[in-house]
Symmetry: C2
Subunit: 358 residues, 2 copies
């Protein structure tokens, strides 16, 4: 809606659906995309009318600024289907707001909220069949913007392409996850773009993560670039530590992504009287807690991974395994979150967002 | 050449040249591209046979990793034509080596040296007419690699596209350049990708640079992210300070690009007995030198900008103007460098690289 008038979204439907060829029981994360995508171009200083088109390739000049200067940001959200075939999003306004915070930091024009939701909901309705019922099934939604202006002078693009593409999803990690605490490499600088979902933040982690994998760790828990003494977050998840019965996580900052899952966990912890401390987390403190047997759990929190238990960690050449917990916080939060996401429980905090059929 | 056998480069010539439509006297940096481009794909764990094709758009999946994770790096070089129509590159091996250092840090497979030079020289020969004679004219050469694999899981791409595109160039900056010393934002973290020509490093600077422009500064001189007490480099140039008759520049590190122009200036300074100190440069020291009238010059050094005098700087809300210098170091180094680049003088250090006609 714009000034009370429904937004016109031009829809070109795919001539045939690919859905029949998809093996929904054996999905690899982010590999297959639905039949449609949303596209909106920024030209002449304005976002133009958005459209929904059949999913397919795009054409760009080889000099398009996204290729040279990484002027690109994205979001990650999920849609869930309940037993009555109703489709739900989880706190999508938080993603939308972060989308524009990221855009601003990358000098990308902010995207209008009405277009975002109108386009997204039209798209989800068209591809509704791709959202499967059942715990663990979801549709991963990837809104993003790329700088399209041709030209290799290092300055902001004058044109952009906004898109939403969607991918049916099950689990993000296929096996057990162990992490290593960063000692040399780092993810973000103070005064940098760490808090934004800037494309360049991710590619920059691949090489250190490859090195970590060679040591048997699937992910790195980044530490502050300055001293490497404080634990911050992982590549695609915020990180929680359970010491005794206390939950600890780093505060957000300009280096750390303000995760939607993270803040939902904090709210749930407070609701269920789980003591939670949002403060700087010393590497030393966690290592000592592990040595004393007080470190009960580490888990990651993120849209793609949901709540991901961490089986062990490495630091300074030492490896630590974490014991199975009977009363695992990770399982507790995961089930609480999923109950809300799949409409199995009341929605006390107003986190569910219904995608109405149209 | 590979094992002594000349590399086969498939060449598809453009049916017509665009060169007639180009106003070479009024070029805007990086806006116009020559008739051809080099393309090479990485598939099945190997760089395939490169080709030269007419310059034109490329097609990618919207889920291509470069759009989402900024897995992309580039280089910037220039070709110069002398009075005898001979085409020269300036220290291209240094760019090639840095290209692969950048690739490695971004988990991109390194590119073979023989393919790089064979392709580049074939391309330059085809587009030889685009390289104009005369001081200040050049062809800006942009080799780059982008991650092309479709899929939104945050992991390195399995496929890549290497390209070289070329743009006829005159000056990079069209007007006077004033800089501001960073106090809040930063460009790179210790242990990060600052030393690489990673795409994401550049887009991340656009927003702070826009803010600087509003204050009347064209560029930011980045300081260390940790304390903002030490001057590092600008967005596309290394920075030199002349205090009295002494030249000072920051050492390279994992935050600072190892600029080819920078190291050439250092070598020339040594040759011409200009005292040069490569060491950490305190903001305070430069501000005090300016206040005492001892700061004679600031200039930037980079391929695109060559040697760029800085007319003034800002710090902590104060603005400083730099006096005109009769015996300007900036002019001195610029003319020395250009004399080598345009084959007007002997090439004592072996920096010139002849692009043979074929
Ligand atoms: C760097 C980073 N940290 C944390 C998260 C988790 O954030 P959210 O819970 O909003 O998905 C993500 C993924 O979005 C991320 O990319
Ligand atoms: C960040 C940065 N610093 C410095 C430079 C200057 O390096 P060079 O002299 O090799 O062009 C460049 C440009 O290449 C750059 O991008």
């Amino acid at each position: 809606m714009k000034d009370g008038i429904p937004l016109e979204i031009d829809v070109v439907e795919a001539s045939a659906s690919k859905i029949g060829s998809v093996d929904f029981d054996n999905l690899i994360f982010g590999n297959i995309f639905t039949d449609h995508m949303m596209v909106c171009d920024y030209v002449n200083g304005e976002w133009q009318a958005p459209s929904i088109q059949p999913y397919g390739p795009i054409q760009l000049e080889p000099s398009a600024k996204v290729f040279h200067y990484g002027q690109a940001i994205f979001e990650g959200m999920k849609a869930f289907k309940d037993d009555e075939d109703q489709v739900w999003l989880f706190r999508p306004e938080a993603n939308f707001e972060r989308f524009n915070r990221s855009s601003k930091r990358l000098a990308i024009p902010e995207f209008p909220k009405d277009m975002f939701f109108e386009g997204l909901e039209t798209l989800l309705n068209l591809d509704r069949e791709w959202i499967k019922k059942g715990f663990g099934n979801s549709l991963y939604i990837r809104p993003f913007v790329i700088a399209t202006e041709p030209g290799v002078s290092a300055s902001p693009s004058k044109t952009y392409k906004f898109m939403i593409i969607c991918s049916p999803a099950k689990a993000y990690y296929s096996g057990e996850v162990r992490v290593v605490f960063a000692e040399k490499f780092s993810r973000a600088a103070d005064g940098g773009v760490g808090y934004a979902k800037a494309a360049g933040n991710y590619g920059a982690q691949f090489y250190p993560t490859n090195l970590a994998k060679e040591e048997g760790f699937q992910q790195i828990v980044w530490t502050d670039a300055n001293t490497h003494e404080y634990l911050e977050e992982a590549g695609t998840m915020n990180i929680f530590f359970r010491v005794g019965n206390k939950l600890i996580t780093a505060p957000t900052s300009d280096r750390i992504l303000d995760g939607v899952t993270r803040k939902s966990v904090i709210t749930l912890a407070e609701e269920f009287n789980i003591p939670v401390e949002v403060r700087r987390v010393k590497v030393q403190e966690i290592v000592e807690a592990a040595e004393k047997g007080e470190l009960k759990e580490i888990f990651g929190a993120g849209t793609a991974a949901t709540i991901n238990p961490v089986k062990g960690f490495g630091h300074a050449g030492k490896k630590f395994e974490l014991p199975e917990q009977e009363d695992s916080y990770a399982s507790f939060f995961k089930s609480k979150l999923m109950a809300i996401q799949y409409n199995k429980t009341e929605d006390k905090f107003g986190w569910r967002y219904a995608v109405k059929e149209r």
